[in-house]
């Protein structure tokens, strides 16, 4: 691209806000009752994690495996099948989401090897808070802003709440102690963080009131991850 410095974010927005919102409405309608099932599964997962101060060993790999399935589903059903109809870059997003699914499977393997972890209060509160926000609050943001519930973005099938929820879950996960495992753990953060930036920019260009929410939550998750560590409990 020549004269790249003359381009603004709005030059890359190919669709209207109305078309973007309708995309979720049609998606929810076409895959119904999956939004309801995803919401119930999300609430159940949250309840399990919330009521256990120490995550059981068996649950450590289950979380990322379920998340991997969600990222893979979104790559195919949302990015490739729907978003790509209005955005040229969406197939690249689909590839990134599929890649994240692979990394999460690697994280699940690391979790299975490492077992449960001890978390500082701050890390646990932030991780649970982000996960709870993604599952319970995110679908209602549009309603609060005057949009119909049929356009709700649900954790597990819509990219934005899934990215935020994933950051929350990653805060609750072991990062691995050896170099390779630590690298795999760190890589799991990259695509959710990048998506929060991309989606935040898209919403910002559409003048969406919630535009800064996603990047702000991503920054909080990143700061907490850097300042705290998940460690193995003392024997």
């Amino acid at each position: 691209m020549t004269e790249w410095w003359t381009y603004r974010l709005s030059d890359f927005l190919m669709f209207s806000a109305r078309t973007y919102r309708r995309l979720f409405e049609l998606y929810n309608t076409e895959v119904w009752p999956l939004p309801l099932v995803a919401f119930i599964v999300g609430v159940a997962a949250l309840a399990i994690v919330w009521h256990r101060p120490r995550v059981p060993d068996i649950a450590v790999p289950v979380g990322p495996v379920m998340l991997a399935a969600a990222w893979l589903w979104i790559a195919w059903a949302f990015q490739l099948q729907r978003y790509a109809t209005i955005l040229t870059a969406a197939p690249w997003f689909a590839a990134a989401f599929a890649f994240e699914a692979l990394i999460l499977l690697a994280a699940a393997w690391i979790g299975a090897q490492t077992g449960a972890v001890s978390l500082s209060d701050g890390r646990r509160v932030c991780g649970l808070g982000l996960f709870a926000f993604a599952v319970l609050a995110y679908p209602w943001i549009g309603v609060l802003l005057g949009r119909p519930l049929s356009q709700a973005e649900v954790f597990g099938i819509a990219p934005d709440p899934t990215a935020i929820g994933t950051l929350g879950v990653l805060l609750l996960m072991p990062s691995g102690e050896s170099g390779g495992r630590r690298l795999a753990g760190a890589m799991a953060w990259l695509i959710p963080l990048a998506w929060c930036a991309v989606s935040g920019a898209t919403l910002c260009t559409m003048d969406a009131p919630e535009a800064l929410l996603l990047p702000a939550l991503a920054v909080i998750a990143l700061v907490v991850a850097i300042r705290t560590r998940a460690t193995r409990p003392a024997a």
Binding site: T2, E3, T6, S10, D11, L13, M14, F15, S16, R18, T19, R22, L23, L26, R82, T85, I86, L87, T88
Partner: protein, 313 residues
């Protein structure tokens, strides 16, 4: 016209006959009534003298609605209103997401087949990929051939332009052009305009973005190149800005009842300008826009006054 099969007067008579007989239009087809609007102002395409209505229809963002059936039907209503008002040129690009198939869908819904001036673009960095992309675009539009193909944003123009000129020579295309937007690569545009036999050039021109008045528009007149103005409302931002102010009294002198018409009349009244292509997803707005191609047009003195007025806002 590539898709026109009947002389316009004959088509009007047949249309009126069909309506008078209460022809049972099939469901899902937008019956195009006889045009009720006054005749649109036209300008000749310098390379052929063919008359073109001075207001066309852009499709950036507004027609990129994906597979949303309701939104596609809305676009078809816009296209129907556009032709009903006497419009001809529709402009799209492979860069506009689903806009091309939505244009094709809309055209298929308007009966009888409208007299469309099909303007599209080639947009790929690969020269050899150009013909395949053009063919794919043609299939999306479902037209026999394009009237105008333009090299989008000058992307790999050195490779695409010879192909487009060869298509024109072979009768597979009627006009050839290049495009840019928002003031980018104007020096290069000028260079291509000087050295190649272009029929059209597409640039950004509106009440706020008037840089092309200095060199490109005079050069287009000198070289006999038709000019299409894109972003006439700066994707709506200009109108949002202008609508905060009262319509000036001189607007009535040129039969304008709203700012959109003022903005369009300013553009199309430039002597070098051939056509402006506002994009909209609203039937009411397309009617407003098309009305800008009727009535009195500003003269040079009023054009200067219009620009000064907007500069002072």
């Amino acid at each position: 016209m590539s898709t026109s099969t009947l002389p316009i007067e004959r088509r009007r008579v047949l249309r009126r006959l069909a309506l008078g007989l209460g022809a049972p239009w099939s469901a899902g087809v937008l019956a195009q009534p006889a045009p009720k609007s006054p005749a649109l102002a036209t300008k000749p395409i310098p390379s052929t003298g063919e008359a073109l209505p001075v207001v066309g229809l852009g499709t950036w963002i507004t027609f990129n609605v994906g597979n949303d059936r309701a939104a596609r039907d809305g676009c078809a209503e816009v296209v129907n209103a556009f032709f009903d008002a006497g419009g001809q040129m529709i402009d799209s690009s492979p860069m506009y997401g689903s806009s091309q198939p939505v244009v094709g869908y809309a055209l298929s819904r308007v009966k009888p087949t409208p007299k469309v001036f099909a303007a599209d673009k080639v947009w790929t960095s690969s020269g050899p990929r150009g013909p395949a992309q053009i063919e794919e675009s043609r299939r999306h539009w479902n037209v026999a051939r394009f009237d105008l193909l333009q090299v989008h944003n000058l992307l790999s123009w050195e490779e695409h332009l010879p192909i487009l000129l060869a298509m024109k020579a072979a009768g597979k295309l009627r006009y050839v052009g290049i495009t840019t937007s928002e003031g980018r690569r104007h020096r290069e545009i000028e260079d291509v305009m000087r050295r190649h036999p272009l029929d059209f050039v597409q640039v950004t021109y509106n009440l706020r973005d008037r840089e092309v008045e200095q060199r490109i528009l005079p050069l287009a007149r000198e070289r006999g190149i038709a000019v299409i103005a894109n972003r006439p409302f700066r994707e709506g931002a200009l109108l949002r800005e202008l609508q905060r102010h009262r319509l000036p009294t001189w607007a009535a002198e040129i039969d304008c009842t709203n700012w959109a018409q003022v903005a369009l009349k300013f553009i199309v009244s430039h002597p070098a300008l051939t056509c402006a292509i506002p994009a909209t997803s609203s039937v009411a707005h397309v009617r407003e826009n098309m009305a800008a191609a009727t009535g009195r047009m500003p003269d040079s003195a009023l054009r200067q006054r219009m620009a000064a007025h907007v500069d002072a806002l």
